[in-house]
Symmetry: C2
Subunit: 397 residues, 2 copies
């Protein structure tokens, strides 16, 4: 059976990226790798839309979150974090593990924090050093306007704004420098289309000044060590070489497609998923919606396990479940990374068939796919650059 | 040009292991992965010769070193570390970064610590909580008898012994449980024959009791979180899936060959490298020698850069240089992981040719290879299990 992942990490790996990993291993201090790594570092700046260096860490995205906390702050520092989902909550957990005084803005999971809520909290705590937010909350499929939040943070405090872009980088518009985002982090198995194992972090000048003063313990995730090593085009510890070789190929694909086109594609595909779901009578969870992942309520009365089984074992499709208290309430369809229109038609058609098989009858087969196609028809045609033969190919044998 | 790595990490990746990484990515919570990960976990216990669980971290080996320090100790705890090379020194750096009172046994780089030196230090500091040692010091090619040290530590203190097995696991005899090693760590791009990006750590019951009490900050490297996740066959953070899929293949190869055979092979190949080097007039650095890497003095009077260039760009062979104050004094030939007799003949013959080309004339071409072959002849034949046709193959076209 063909297997198709629609999970928000790992996301599908393009075949050329996967094969790049199988090439003979090269030493990270040999010229071949230094050339690759220097190209990767340039392309990561493009991805983050920053002039700052982007540091590649060998860890999951959580490692980069920890690097942000441990390198920016000191014992007893005050920080605000927005808990609107499992990954927002994680900022608080990390801060507290390090003895940071973490002030929580707890919002109902499924909505975004408002600028006013952040402003109010900043006014209550004038000495806050950092504000931790989540651009695309993977657990709820909710998008937060971090451009707006950055303005609020900078107008009302001297704090830095730290953005979890793990499922937004490569899916949502993001201009690190222009928007005044002090720290942006992301992970590899998301919009970057490579397997898990790498995370990324970039810091503004202001954030680097905090790094100089930070007294929290760190070694493996020390960004000062990373900066010193990068001055020689190197990493402080042996990096995940095979993943960086894959990243090089993936970043070239991203550059070729163009960030604006990629953001547009994610907008289009996510809209299609939402319209497709609505057309078959499914209720969406969370608002405003992320372009990376769509959260959908299980319809009432169906056998959820059976539905999931049909989807996975009859149609080969893995979607994600809900997390924490949303575990049996929602499921999540990812469209982050290496997806196109036909993939979306595929997943919506599978949803239709699986739902019909478990007795959900509030729609007619094809309703969802039709809605998906209508969204695609609305969007401007993207110029297809193809040389050579435009005829249908003849058959050879 | 064919490229051959003789570096102590990354080490060569078997082709089947490399291709495993290029397979379609699977989700770490899908049954396919859970099956792989559970087999990996069983085979890691065999590799470490322990009944304890071995935890797989997504990081370089340094991450596992940090995990050991941050999870075992508390602020102000006393620990002893042996600095007999760059990696022994690193134990001290990590301890100090975490506010641990790190007592250094500094020995001349190139020799191993003696049991007496460790005993003396333990007697001076009765309240030491941990002793950090290096089984195979990659920077000097020196082997330390950790079995003997474990006895000394247990007889003279209540401290745990923590062993850096990064370049010893899979090369040197190591029985974690039988020898009373409380903590053993290793890395992926070494004896395990997969690319960098994973590290491994196992803890004795006694070490786990210290973990319960430790107050040093940690989150990503929290072993309590790792233990809790492993109870469900899981990891707390998304693991480097592609590397674990590769690891599964590599561990099956290790099991098929058998640990005792692998240790014997490393002993034989390392002895052959040493004898080959001596036969061409090269002086060995460090004693007793590790089976993972051989450190060799550059001969006097040769152009070192030119020698390295010929080796790398004419014969495609990368060896490692010296580190820190040994930078221009020694080079290091690794024979850790996926190497056989013919590889060793290859590297020694390349050394001969490169040395001859830069004017070093204290040997005759072939002297080194001859010495290598003599070592191989001394060793017992390993039974070759091959079915089918034992005739020379006929040619087909």
């Amino acid at each position: 059976m063909k297997k198709r992942l629609f999970t928000p990490g790992p996301t599908p790996i393009p075949e050329n990226v996967a094969l790049a990993m199988a090439q003979p291993i090269i030493h990270h201090r040999n010229p071949e790798f230094i050339e690759i790594f220097s190209r990767v570092n340039e392309n990561l700046k493009y991805l983050f839309q920053t002039k700052q260096d982007v540091y590649t860490l060998t860890s999951s995205g959580t490692g980069a979150m920890e690097a942000a906390v441990a390198n920016l702050l000191s014992f007893g520092d005050k920080a605000i974090f927005v808990n609107g989902g499992k990954f927002g909550e994680r900022w608080g957990e990390i801060c507290r593990a390090y003895g940071v005084d973490a002030i929580e803005i707890k919002i109902e999971w499924g909505r975004a924090v408002t600028p006013e809520e952040v402003r109010d909290e900043l006014k209550k705590h004038r000495d806050v050093k950092a504000v931790f937010v989540t651009h695309s909350e993977t657990s709820t499929g909710v998008f937060t306007d971090v451009k707006e939040l950055a303005e609020v943070v900078h107008e009302n405090s001297d704090a830095v704004i730290v953005v979890d872009g793990i499922t937004s980088v490569g899916a949502h518009e993001l201009y690190m420098d222009d928007w005044g985002l002090d720290v942006v982090i992301t992970g590899s198995q998301k919009g970057l289309m490579i397997p898990p194992g790498l995370s990324f972090i970039a810091l503004s000048e202001k954030a680097w000044k905090m790094v100089e003063k930070s007294n929290l313990p760190k070694y493996y995730f020390s960004l000062k060590k990373a900066r010193k090593a990068l001055q020689n085009g190197d990493t402080p510890w042996t990096p995940a070489i095979a993943l960086i070789v894959a990243l090089d190929v993936a970043l070239k694909m991203i550059k070729d497609e163009g960030l604006e086109n990629i953001w547009k594609r994610h907008e289009k595909l996510s809209k299609a998923v939402r319209e497709g779901c609505k057309a078959i009578g499914l209720k969406l969870f969370g608002n405003p919606p992320s372009h990376a992942v769509t959260a959908v309520y299980f319809p009432d009365g169906i056998d959820k396990k059976e539905f999931q089984k049909v989807l996975k074992y009859k149609y080969g499709i893995t979607v994600a479940g809900g997390q924490e208290h949303l575990k049996d309430k929602i499921f999540r369809i990812s469209h982050l990374g290496y997806y196109d229109e036909i993939d979306i038609v595929g997943v919506i058609s599978a949803l239709e068939m699986a739902l019909a098989e478990v007795g959900f009858d509030e729609f007619k087969l094809g309703d969802g796919v039709k809605a998906v196609q209508k969204v695609f028809a609305e969007y401007e045609k993207i110029e297809v650059k193809q040389g050579g033969n435009d005829e249908f190919l003849s058959c050879c044998h």
